[in-house]
């Protein structure tokens, strides 16, 4: 495991077994040995020679940690995060790029993880809602602003909203309210909490 070839020929280096296990423990979740969704281990191994098959074990960089995970070629990042890595903070509202509930950062840019194939994110830095707070539990300033402004209502779209806000503030630390609305407009909220969400984004921008 110290150095392992993955499907694209990249070498995953610098992750010792010990640090990998530590990382897994720190994340509070284990890489599941059972694949819940799409074809699981037992099935695909029945026919490893599927045309166009790619290596299934890949290493993802999620929330600053290298995570080895068994991924199907058609698997979306949202499913990998939720069902393989136990990161259920990323929500699925539509699974077809309409709602933005599943927004995560890929190399600091907000993406709908329901519409990203996991394989395409191998070389990237992935950040989910679980990766925002610091190790001691101190909330990211955007998270804190969302609490201070009582921004969420039902809360289902909130992780995606927060990830979009974090992505916005990385490229535009002092947005106008109109710029924030534009940047957040890929995230639907059926409770209609847009006003409080914008209040929170503007508060977080001030705090930066």
């Amino acid at each position: 495991m110290d150095a392992m070839k993955n499907g694209s020929g990249d070498t995953v280096a610098g992750v010792s077994r010990r640090s990998f296990i530590k990382g897994v423990i720190a994340a509070g979740a284990t890489v599941s040995s059972v694949s819940y969704l799409f074809r699981g281990n037992g099935f695909a191994q029945v026919n490893p020679g599927i045309a166009g098959a790619v290596e299934r074990m890949v290493t993802l960089t999620v929330n600053g940690q290298k995570r080895r995970v068994d991924v199907m070629k058609q698997e979306t990042l949202a499913m990998t995060l939720r069902y393989k890595l136990g990161l259920t903070g990323t929500k699925l509202g539509c699974d077809r790029a309409e709602c933005g509930n599943c927004t995560v950062l890929i190399d600091d840019v907000p993406h709908y993880s329901c519409s990203v194939l996991t394989h395409t994110a191998r070389a990237s830095k992935i950040t989910t809602i679980e990766g925002l707070a610091s190790a001691d539990g101190k909330l990211h300033r955007v998270q804190q602003a969302f609490i201070d402004e009582l921004a969420p209502q039902c809360g289902f779209c909130t992780p995606g909203q927060i990830m979009s806000a974090v992505g916005l503030l990385k490229v535009n630390p002092k947005p106008t309210r109109a710029q924030a609305a534009e940047a957040m407009s890929g995230n639907l909220c059926r409770c209609g909490a847009y006003n409080n969400y914008l209040n929170a984004v503007m508060r977080a921008a001030e705090a930066s």
């Binding site: 809602i129 969420p152 209609g192 909490a193 847009y194």
Partner: protein, 800 residues
């Protein structure tokens, strides 16, 4: 309780941290050992009979564990909705469910199932079903609702004589009421307007689809579901799957939006529950967005007629209302009935008649949707109030004010009294803050292609119930545990109302814990989190439970230090002698004394009037501390109302028909404000949903095949960040209701109807008095109106 320490103050509800960190769990976030996945086989036709199902090939696939069909689930009689059906009544209705090791296997196996379907006649438009010889949505009839048995009603050709001119047929109704003499009222009127109108159906589309996971352990069903309510849902779920309520653990910590569609439960929960039982494994049913459109409920459309008589000063002398409701294929929800109640309370007509007709349609099942009936009716009727104001030369706020109820206002056909009304105050406060008189001057002003319009709208919903139970526990750790079974819909009212118990007991909030989210955590029998009622209802139950605990604390102190219980007071975590504060007990010590004393003090003996569910929970907690437990028998008389007045400014683009909402202010009359921040979110969020109701959201069905053209979120056109004003405003009257111990009433629903009607009225204002008699008012309708072209829909046509 004159001055409050907690009530009316902002605080951070305990579930908020989980919502911003992703740790808060929704139904799809739970896992169980050996969990498998279910997929649905759904009807491709709007109405059919299943002649045969052949699952053999599917069952032979490795990794497939079994199927569930209508023959495996408890039978229900129409018009009740079954878990699975052999007579699908709408396109997308579940016929069969299959469980497999993973979703791909399940989906592939579903493809291998052969279902022989016999297509049957279907109907999308209620009027078509009422025509002589028109189709029925189900084989046993075309009219039904709560309290109206399934039956067949057809009207005569004569009833339909003027339908092509846009006049609603007014055949024999399924239900009607009247008070006062409407004919005399119309005679007395200075102005009588007569209008037909249409409001369209729309889906709830909560962000969280109704995904559910179920498993059985030691004879008990564990169900993780997305639900607005917890305790109240238990008996219904138990009945659905045929078990005793004590055999159910229902977990619903967070609900990713419901808006009425997840009020107390839905039959589709039976799928993972019964499939799990059949194959003896935990089953997760992930519901897709397309499936959510089909099974996730919708607001019914209305085809209506109204005749209103006005005095010179705008007072309504008589009102005659007829509402035909697209009921969906099953029992549906009494929007058509509520709509009349809403009209009666908001305008207080001196005489009124209502007639209603719920007609079954082969469309997704209906349920309550935020202000069910009241809000689509407000959107339809408020423009007619404007039309009258224009004709009579009256101010639009003034005409609403003169008709608005005071505390002596009445509701509905039986003219039931109401607990209080400050609707006039809400209108006054809103008009002042919005600067209505000044902004009126902007009406019709044109800048380039854009014209400004100003609108006001008013809406109502009932906002309180009585008779539920409260349960609190003070443990030897000195903390107050408030057991709250109402649910966690996202309004934070579960938390705001819990603070009433802390207020009564003078308990610092940081020493209180709210116990909620699962029937396994010993919930009292609480109100469902529906109908804007939590604030009123739950503050009463928490009040009575806390008062019971307070009385017991006083008795324990009197036992300890002599004197009478009344000599003692409770505050700051202590029970102490009023005349000598040093003499007393900490609540921690009092809790230990209560455990030693046993009996009623620790919940070993319970009041006899408790609901069995409360009694079971209280018994499970008995002996752990000092228990406060009681049924809400506080006096209350009549309807508990919630009102909202909304004020908007819009810019209508005459070239594109786009409506830009520049300003929106909602002012609530909801009694005492419990929690200002969450009230603000309810008002502004409710207004946003109103924008969808006014401008965009509707069902569109292909009339030839009965299939939906608006399944996804993109086609459903929910409001986005870019469809709402950049900053929204809210306010509240904040005057107490005399029938609640802290003066609170609910508010969740009326802001939606107030804002939707204000927006539609503002469009008509911008266009100088063009009334559409239809909602939503879409861009094409505006462009057609501006160019004086005919509209693309036929008169009274729905789902277009």
């Amino acid at each position: 309780m004159a001055s409050y320490k907690l009530i009316g103050k902002d605080f951070t509800p305990p579930d908020l941290l989980g919502k911003v960190t992703g740790k808060g769990k929704y139904a799809e976030d739970f896992r169980a050992e050996g969990m498998v996945f279910a997929k649905l086989l759904r009807s491709p036709m709007p109405h059919a009979k299943v002649r045969q199902i052949d699952s053999r090939k599917a069952l032979a696939i490795k990794g497939v564990f079994g199927v569930l069909t209508a023959d495996d689930v408890p039978k229900v009689e129409l018009p009740h909705e079954p878990i699975l059906t052999n007579e699908p009544l709408y396109a997308g209705e579940p016929i069969l469910a299959l469980a497999a090791v993973d979703e791909t296997t399940a989906a592939n196996a579903i493809e291998q199932i052969k279902v022989d379907l016999q297509p049957l006649p279907f109907v999308i438009d209620p009027l078509e079903s009422l025509r002589p010889g028109g189709p029925n949505a189900c084989s046993e009839g075309n009219v039904a609702n709560r309290g109206i048995k399934l039956q067949t009603i057809k009207w005569t050709a004569r009833d339909f004589a003027a339908v092509n001119q846009g006049k609603l047929p007014l055949g024999k109704p399924a239900e009607e009421w009247q008070y006062g003499d409407i004919e005399a009222g119309f005679k007395e009127a200075e102005l009588v307007i007569e209008e037909s109108f249409v409001t369209q159906s729309l889906s709830h589309h909560s962000m969280e689809p109704r995904t559910a996971m179920a498993y059985w352990q030691n004879g008990k069903l564990y169900l993780h579901g997305s639900c607005q309510s917890v305790a109240f849902a238990v008996p219904g779920i138990a009945k659905l799957v045929g078990i005793n309520p004590a055999q159910l653990v229902f977990i619903a910590e967070n609900c990713g939006g419901g808006f009425g569609s997840k009020g107390t439960g839905y039959p589709q929960w039976g799928i993972p529950a019964l499939l799990s039982k059949k194959i003896n494994r935990p089953v997760m049913l992930r519901v897709s967005r397309t499936e959510e459109h089909a099974i996730g409920r919708a607001r019914p459309s209305f085809q209506g007629y109204v005749k209103i008589g006005f005095r010179k000063d705008g007072r309504i002398t008589a009102l005659d209302l007829y509402v035909i409701q697209s009921n969906g294929p099953y029992e549906g929800f009494p929007d058509f009935r509520n709509s009349a109640g809403g009209v009666s309370i908001v305008y207080q007509p001196l005489a009124m008649r209502w007639r209603g007709m719920p007609v079954l349609t082969n469309t997704p099942p209906r349920s309550a949707q935020r202000g069910p009936g009241e809000n689509q009716m407000a959107t339809a009727i408020e423009p007619f109030i404007d039309k009258a104001a224009r004709k009579l030369g009256l101010d639009r706020v003034a005409i609403r004010r003169i008709n608005a109820p005071g505390h002596d206002g009445k509701y509905g056909g039986k003219q039931v009294p109401i607990t209080s009304s400050y609707l006039r105050d809400a209108l006054d406060k809103g008009a002042a803050r919005f600067q209505w008189d000044k902004k009126k001057a902007l009406s019709g002003q044109r800048k380039g292609t854009k014209v400004t319009g100003i609108g006001v709208g008013v809406a109502y919903h009932s906002a309180g119930r009585t008779g539920f139970d409260g349960l609190v526990l003070i443990k030897p750790d000195g903390k107050l545990y408030i057991h709250n079974g109402t649910g966690n819909l996202g309004t934070f009212s579960y938390a705001a109302t819990s603070r009433v118990a802390a207020e009564v007991l003078g308990m610092p909030w940081n020493r209180c814990e709210i116990v909620f989210g699962s029937s396994g955590r010993n919930m009292p029998w609480n109100s469902p989190q529906v109908g804007s009622n939590s604030s009123f209802t739950m503050s009463r139950t928490n009040y009575v439970a806390a008062m019971d605990a307070k009385k017991k604390l006083q008795e324990i102190a009197a036992k300890e230090y002599n004197g009478q219980p009344d000599d003692y007071d409770v505050a700051n975590g202590r029970v102490y002698r009023k005349s000598n504060a040093a003499q007393g007990l900490s609540l921690a010590d009092a809790a230990s004394r209560a455990i030693k004393l046993g009996g009623k003090y620790s919940g070993q003996e319970l009041p006899t009037d408790l609901n069995p569910l409360t009694a079971r929970s209280a018994s499970a907690l008995a002996g752990q501390g000092l228990m406060g437990v009681a049924k809400d028998t506080l006096p209350s008389k009549g309807i508990v109302p919630a009102f909202c007045a909304a004020f908007v400014r819009v810019e209508v683009d005459l070239e594109t028909g786009h409506v830009d909402i520049k300003e929106c202010l909602g002012v609530a009359d909801c009694g005492t404000v419990l929690h200002p921040e969450s009230l603000g979110t309810q008002i502004t969020g409710g207004c946003v949903q109103g924008f969808g109701l006014a401008l965009k959201e509707k069902h569109v069905f292909d009339p030839k095949f009965g299939l939906s053209a608006t399944k996804g979120l993109h086609n459903a056109k929910l409001p986005t960040y870019l469809d709402v004003p950049l900053e929204m405003q809210w306010d509240a009257v904040n005057k107490p209701d005399p029938h609640n111990p802290v003066g609170a009433r609910g508010i969740g629903e009326p802001p939606t109807g107030a804002a939707s009607s204000a927006v539609v009225c503002a469009i008509s204002d911008a266009l100088g008095g063009v009334y559409f008699n239809r909602a939503p008012v879409s861009c094409d309708m505006i462009v057609n109106a501006v160019e004086k072209k005919s509209q693309s829909y036929k008169p009274l046509e729905v789902e277009v």
